[in-house]
Symmetry: C2
Subunit: 625 residues, 2 copies
């Protein structure tokens, strides 16, 4: 049924311990329920990995998972979900990446690669048209991600190979380490450390399979509809393709929610040039993912003393190395972004952790002795660069910071927790959600921690009235909205999967229908809009259940101390916070809308309605239902 139709029908299961691999049929029973991508991978994770597994132990597994649209003619669908238990959150770690690796993996014959065990020596996987080889990565160990990709292509004598790999941060098990393919990152939740712990430097893929669709005429129609929506978008080509995500610096600044100084000075500190206008002289062009007509990635080159560093800092990096560090030197931000891409470090968690360190230093919680003599002050770009290097190699104070704010705060003790801007261990993205309550509730409840991408409240951030207009400061209705955002985003951008930016800018109102039409015609499995939505709901329930089994409770569905207890001091969101009682109000509504009890445990009724009997059984066996 599924072979070649959107899916290749094949899962590759690899064991690094004994260097074996086996092909399995993709379980068709899971397809209707979880569609593909993140949904399918999380379902496998929940089924296969005990929730209490140490994320850096041999028992954790890595899932590289594609959806039914990758490799087809659907635009912007070269997306891949990488799933494992996260060493940063100790819950479900899920990241999306784009570029070219995802489709090449499908051309190589697989919808999903499951990586188990741990290699004795550094190795990489080389997968070509169904042939799997375990190769020594001794040569690449210690190399950055740019070199690693090139050396593997050279060694295998094929420049069209695509490589997903870790840099030195992943080798050194930083819990902020990411996985890089081309110049794209599966950035968050420390999945690079999972690869590092497995002694897996890289996965290289190359293939020539043809990806067919089940109903070509219907599929073509759905693609045409999508392309027309994209063309009709008032922002996608006219602004977004020229400015990329850094345009959000201005959007968030205008509503007073661009974070500054570790969230202490939100609304107060905002050099206008941090955004897009003054960046244009550094802007060298666009980069496109496979079959993307937009090319939102803005190649930029640093000047001044960071001359020649080339990168494409996204909005989030302007936040994490700019706003929250009070660094207004765009060149330094470009250079830091580049450095992180090279060594495979998540720019967001890294920047937020440095902001935490700066505040701890200013407040006397970190002494010069502890920092190795470095004065870690806000606004100091050289210190930022130095700390990034120390984090990468766990050198001195870098060892304390390499595991993110939660662990560092625990080690520092005293009041440090008050300055650790994370949820479930994942550092906050660049939205001060005190001024965007649904976005805040999403941070609190997302199964991956403070993750803007798992249920982006575009209604509050961009004022898009879908499904209806909202007041960003109001609490009422935000539980319901967040559930909708999380479920619909999960399935469209994470399961299908398609580029989230595309969905926001061109298809917000029709993303479920669009996905249903594309996926149904691609796979031949009929998905209604309700089926699509329900797949997203299943994903969120399955992931949440894994977290619950891993020990998380309602207390983990929270926000950092500062957002609950301190008001934004200036600007258009002045006076806003999310007090504990307001958070509880939103949480109650959210749990109720989800069909979860007041502890945040899914009810029997809900799980039965979703046909999630296995997950129900797991909760029962632990006495949680």
């Amino acid at each position: 049924m599924v072979e070649n139709y959107g899916f290749m029908g094949k899962v590759l299961r690899v064991n690094l311990t004994d260097k074996s691999s086996v092909e399995e049929d993709l379980d068709p029973a899971k397809l209707k329920g979880f569609m593909g991508g993140a949904g399918l991978a999380i379902k496998y994770l929940v089924d296969e990995v005990p929730a209490e597994t140490d994320a850096l132990a041999e028992g954790n597994k890595l899932y590289f998972s594609l959806g039914p649209l990758g490799g087809t003619a659907a635009p912007c669908a070269s997306r891949m979900s990488i799933v494992a238990k996260s060493p940063l959150t100790n819950g479900v770690g899920m990241c999306m990446t784009g570029g070219y690796f995802p489709v090449e993996m499908k051309f190589a014959g697989y919808d999903m690669i499951i990586i188990e065990g741990k290699s004795e020596d550094p190795c990489y996987l080389w997968i070509k048209d169904g042939v799997v080889k375990f190769r020594s990565a001794e040569k690449m160990w210690g190399m950055n991600t740019v070199d690693t990709q090139q050396i593997i292509k050279d060694e295998l004598n094929d420049q069209n190979i695509r490589v997903a790999c870790i840099g030195q941060a992943g080798e050194n098990l930083s819990k902020m380490a990411c996985i890089i393919n081309e110049r794209r990152a599966a950035g968050r939740k420390g999945l690079g450390a999972v690869m590092g712990a497995k002694n897996l430097k890289a996965v290289a893929v190359r293939g020539s399979s043809e990806v067919k669709v089940a109903r070509p005429d219907d599929f073509k129609k759905a693609v045409s509809f999508m392309l027309k929506q994209m063309k009709d978008s008032p922002v996608l080509y006219s602004e977004f393709s020229k400015l990329g995500t850094p345009m959000v610096v201005h959007v968030t600044s205008e509503s007073g929610i661009f974070p500054a100084k570790n969230y202490e000075d939100t609304g107060k500190w905002m050099p206008q040039h941090l955004g897009v206008e003054d960046n244009n002289e550094r802007r060298k062009g666009n980069e496109h993912c496979y079959r993307c007509p937009v090319g939102c990635s803005q190649i930029k080159v640093a000047k001044n003393r960071f001359k020649g560093a080339m990168s494409d800092p996204e909005f989030e990096t302007f936040y994490s190395f700019g706003g929250t560090l009070c660094i207004d030197d765009v060149d330094a931000i470009i250079a830091a972004d580049r450095y992180c891409d090279e060594v495979g470090l998540d720019t967001m968690s890294a920047g937020a952790t440095i902001a935490f360190a700066m505040e701890c230093f200013e407040k006397g919680l970190l002494t010069l002795e502890e920092t190795g003599g470095i004065s870690i002050n806000f606004g100091d770009a050289d210190v930022m660069m130095e700390l990034l290097q120390k984090i990468t190699y766990r050198d001195g104070i870098g060892d304390l910071l390499a595991d993110g704010t939660r662990i560092a705060a625990g080690k520092i003790g005293k009041d440090a927790y008050k300055y650790a801007m994370h949820v479930k261990g994942l550092e906050l993205p660049g939205y001060d959600v005190r001024g965007a309550k649904a976005h805040g509730l999403n941070y609190a409840t997302s199964y991956t921690g403070a993750d803007h991408n798992r249920g982006y409240a575009f209604q509050e951030i961009f004022g898009i009235p879908v499904p209806e207009p909202v007041d960003r400061f109001a609490y009422e209705g935000k539980g319901k909205l967040t559930v909708w955002n999380q479920n619909s985003r999960a399935v469209t951008s994470d399961c299908a999967p398609m580029c989230a930016f595309l969905l926001d800018m061109a298809l917000p109102a029709v993303c479920l229908k669009n996905t249903a039409d594309l996926v149904s015609s691609a796979t031949g499995i009929d998905f209604t809009e309700d089926d699509v939505y329900m797949a997203g709901e299943r994903l969120n329930n399955a992931a949440h259940i894994f977290n619950v089994l891993a020990g998380m409770t309602r207390a983990d569905d929270t926000l950092p101390y500062r957002l609950i207890n301190e008001e934004i001091k200036e600007g258009p969101s002045k006076g806003q916070r999310i007090a504990q009682e307001d958070l509880d109000y939103m949480l109650d509504e959210y749990y109720s809308e989800r069909g979860w009890d007041e502890r945040g445990i899914p009810t029997r009724e809900k799980l039965e309605a979703l046909s999630m009997h296995e997950e129900l059984g797991k909760l029962e066996s632990r006495g949680l239902i």
Copy 2:
């Protein structure tokens, strides 16, 4: 006659000023006389570019020139000669490079690309199977060579494109700027600045032409002979492929000619670990050029504070960033090498120029005010890294140093010339030729300046008794030997062209015969051993005549002050120098052997014997004959 037989038969002539291009037939009359590669390109240069042309002006031309063996089954023949008037020497600039670009250029349909004029805006050439496009390089301007190559491949959507490009050093017209393809460098004589001056960031090639040979059976026989010689070599696979050129650190140290402290401490300062043994833990593997079974390039990764920098420092780089700077930190040498490859800076000239600056600083010829407050002392790896950056961007003292030792010494004045280790403006390689007289004579007389590759005296360095054993300290016979070395090396490694290392290690005694057999069977043009040798002789005469026409005289065929006037102080070559009278003795013998008069001007008889009537006419019209 020549089409597809070793040669494609086509020259591409490109004009950057008006963005036009035209195909020309390769001049068969020049083939027998100059064979290909460097010989052919130098012949074109002499014919087309007035010798007085400013090397950085629009009137200079760049020649990318292949020989008859590239793209055939001959091993180690993916070699290309790049020729232009050199901004560093103001004479013929000629560099060889390897890797993959050379064969890909031939597959794209051309034996030679001639680049004329100057583009108004940054551009790059994109040549695919005979189709030539001029594309904007605004996007890549300011980027390093690694990024530039990748961005061009991405932009053109073909990862198998090969790119030769400049980095920031070439953009900023450093006369030490090189041209990089893959991780190979056409390193010396500032040809990167010629590209920069033309606003030419890169040349990208891709092709699918088949390269035929004229007499396949004979060719196969010649290749088999060559492979057998390689297999029988006592060092090629057993040592050289494992150690690469850094093994020469030990060879030269043992004979007391590894330079230290800007040649002041040769024989005295030599940390044993600078060579190969202790490098093995940093050694990550080998890199191969196209169709090379040896893979001498040793990928290395830096540790300590330069962690993660990956490069493949050759012997010459261990000299230029190690010995002559008294830096014994191998990691720093790897990092500096990597930096230079990225920004496109010749490691040899850059290191030698920093050594010059260090000595000037120590001797008080450069003050702290002039250095911008930097104490430029021997042994300081951080200062080396800082100066490399300053040179790249012509920042402060870097502006003075960016044009090499000769120009810097001229600007500093006083005794600075005594510490400028160059010949004809080209900085010295890593052999203190006071202890290897023929090698020294070669430095003095090579048409490119102090260039070890244009007539390598392997007899003195390695003790290889071909054509006969020599005493490295003797002066007698060195004129004759140098002529033989220059002529035979020119034709085998620069015209055919084949890898020079291969010829040294496997075929020293039979390289002329081997070349004759390969080239004859590949092209169908019969070359005897004498024809081959004479092509090398013509090359050296043509290039020398260009230099003479550009104003060089016997006074330019000299050595640095220190080598003439100071003795090596310690070690196995203690007491050696090349006094002016000894140099004159060797020069007289050399000129006589060349058939040149005592001024170093080729005689009418010699040029007639070589059928070099056009060159003879040029000398006549200037009243030099």
